[in-house]
Chain length 248, copies 2
DNA sequence: AATTGATTTCTAGTATGGAAGTATGGTAAG
DNA sequence: CTTACCATACTTCCATACTAGAAATCAATT
């Protein structure tokens, strides 16, 4: 995994500091160690790590680019709330992209990649009894493998940025996600890819990526303080327009 | 248009400098005023605009995030060549996203938006005789309108980032793009949306966004110095795996 | 007591100085 | 003529100092 390597919590002074700090703070925010609305200042972080403000500032700017921090000039910097709309947007984009990835795969199935995916699914089942975060890592790996198998590693880089918004929800309420179901869905996707069933594979990946729509309203209702909700309260995103995967 | 506003070439010292400089340099790179491979330094740019190196540095970091600059620690900063692979990746992602956008639109056509799109197409035809850059602006506006009509303005923000890679190609060789054809394609897309023909609308937007595949090899062969080509020379991207829009 | 005003104390933004590392050009040795 | 070496002139990166502006605190006034 290119990102998120190494222990999270310390900085190696020999390596460039700003990118390290960026990953570290990003990890803290996505895992809700830094809570939405919490104010942090460049000075404070600089003191905590014994570095100057400059690399902190650069990390802040990059985090603001992912909508994880809001920098208010001359006023302060706050951890963004989880934008309900942004989560839905990110999910929509992921579905669109991964649907096409799966179409590529199923239109020309590669036995070597199929074997790799099945091995990963086996690992996912083994991780079912362990901590849920372990499954999430394997889940990421699975989806990244899909992209890689389709020759779209560049696409995964983009998805990683989108995923940060969705991950904040994921780590906010680990209990809500039906891991066994998700693994079954992974298996169904690979089955349809192996069978060369383009429409079927597409339908399954789209359904898979719509799972979060069921849980999001529940989680948002549980922790409204963490969310930036649209006017009118929590909408029912399941009623969002159908976007594909349902052709005859 | 949120980005690229104001005159390009001067900085307002009253406003935050770093974001202004970012947009300005981005414009120069995308329009190939700064050529691929050209070396620039923080000091040089700082002198040119009479500012300090720090905001320059921050602009550089953001440009590196869009793969427009490559910052080599302690060695220098160069304008990235146009990555052939990145252009293909960006195009793939755009197709996936806009295909789903068009599916939303055609599954529930809105007369008001249809009228807006038709008006824009008329404006495009008027701009056919003028400079080609004027058409490009209208083309962007059209696609942005599609996203907005589907309630996916957030998606357009992402596409804008992807588009910078494709725009570099576009501005590199204005002559190659068959503007009348593109406008006809726009019209066909809107026709299918209005008719509620989901599969047809999807097929047309995908074909539309594949136009660049025809021109890219030609442009790359004309200006190989501007491109970062994969090993083995210029591939034929038209033979890339089919990714959708061709169901029965 | 409530309100207005000045002051103090925070913030991010910018400027500048120094440290570490790399490429380059010249010089001396083989 | 070729090669190894060293000094120099760059580069980015980090640290520090300073500026401008916003918010909060406290005092004076009504």
């Amino acid at each position: 995994m290119p990102l998120e390597t190494g222990p999270v919590g310390t900085l190696d002074p020999l390596l460039p500091i700003a990118p390290q700090l960026f990953r570290l703070l990003r990890h803290r925010i996505v895992h809700n160690d830094l809570r939405p609305g919490h104010r942090i200042s460049e000075t404070e972080i600089a003191r905590e790590f014994g570095i100057s403000r400059q690399p902190v500032r650069e990390a802040f700017i990059k985090l603001a680019g992912e909508d994880l921090l809001a920098i208010l000039p001359q006023r302060g910097t706050v951890v963004c709330k989880i934008s309900y709309a942004a989560v839905l947007d990110a999910r929509f984009l992921r579905e669109a992209i991964e649907a096409d990835i799966v179409r590529i795969l199923s239109s020309a199935p590669d036995p070597a990649w199929i074997a790799e995916m099945r091995a990963q699914i086996a690992a996912q089942r083994s991780a079912m009894t362990g901590p849920q975060q372990a499954f999430f890592a394997l889940d990421d790996s699975f989806h990244r493998t899909l992209a890689g198998a389709a020759g779209k590693n560049g696409a995964w880089r983009l998805i990683e940025g989108l995923k940060s918004q969705m991950d904040r929800v994921r780590f906010l309420s680990l209990a809500h996600f039906p891991v066994p179901n998700l693994i079954d869905q992974h298996e169904a996707i690979v089955d349809r890819i192996e069978a060369g069933d383009v429409a079927g594979a597409e339908r399954h990946i789209r359904d898979h990526l719509r799972e979060i729509l069921k849980d999001l309203p529940v989680i948002a209702a549980e922790s409204p303080a963490f969310f930036d909700l649209p006017a009118g309260g929590i909408p029912d995103p399941v009623n969002a327009p159908v976007t594909g995967g349902d052709h005859p």
